[in-house]
């Protein structure tokens, strides 16, 4: 079970490949891996977004992501989980979040990855400030899943 907050750009596919090769998810035990990657769009509410600043609450953000990882592991009997989230300045096309889970069967993997993303979006202390053509503004609420 791993949680990482990164303040620089990352390649989710390379990171995932390295993570799995390093052997944290026990090879031979898992039959299902579900992966979610969230990427920055260049539009929100019909307006162009040029860049994004992601603020977090150092310490609490990690604690919340660890808490939901433990909850998902217990509820779906996961073999491993990985959550990576960006903070700092981002541009359209850059990955914001990576969630991956490993389990024996697909039902647990699909359900647990959905659960982690919804718990992350609704409660993890992270805030987006968008830079648009007409100025900067804090995003007031997340879009429904």
């Amino acid at each position: 079970m791993t949680v990482r907050i990164l303040d620089a750009g990352f390649d989710p596919w390379a990171l995932l490949s390295d993570y799995q090769r390093a052997g944290a998810p026990p090879e031979g035990a898992y039959g299902a891996t579900a992966v979610f990657v969230g990427t920055m769009r260049d539009f929100n509410e019909d307006q162009n977004v040029q860049s994004l600043f992601l603020e977090h609450y150092p310490g609490m953000t990690e604690a919340w992501l660890e808490k939901i990882s433990v909850a998902a592991t217990e509820r779906w009997n996961l073999l491993d989980s990985l959550i990576v989230h960006r903070v700092g300045e981002l541009h359209p096309g850059e990955p914001i979040v990576l969630v991956a889970v490993w389990s024996a069967h697909r039902k647990a993997a699909f359900e647990a990855s959905r659960f982690l993303m919804e718990e992350l979006k609704s409660k993890a202390p992270l805030w987006k400030k968008e830079q648009r053509e007409d100025g900067a503004r804090w995003v007031e609420h997340n879009t429904p899943g």
Binding site: T39, I96, P125
Partner: protein
């Protein structure tokens, strides 16, 4: 009791303060703490609060040395 109060995101920018250590009477609730620290501004309806980095109800009463954070609805993730 002494409390470390922190503000994040739009709230931090609007109030112009990121953190402030304050001394308040014992039995001060988190809701009352806001009015003592930010008397000029009513508590926003959608504000969230954390005590020592865990979500907490606004009616709860902190202890000496606690860190209390106020912040707006969260907007992390993507997709």
């Amino acid at each position: 009791m002494r409390i470390e109060v922190r503000f994040f995101a739009g709230l931090r920018e609007r109030l112009g303060v990121a953190e402030r250590e304050v001394s308040v009477p014992d039995d001060t609730s988190i809701r009352q703490l806001w009015s003592l620290v930010v008397p000029e501004e009513p508590l926003p309806d959608n504000v969230l609060a954390a005590r020592n980095m865990e979500y907490v109800d606004l009616s709860s009463i902190p202890c000496d040395g606690d860190e209390i954070a106020f912040f707006p609805p969260v907007t992390g993730g993507a997709g």
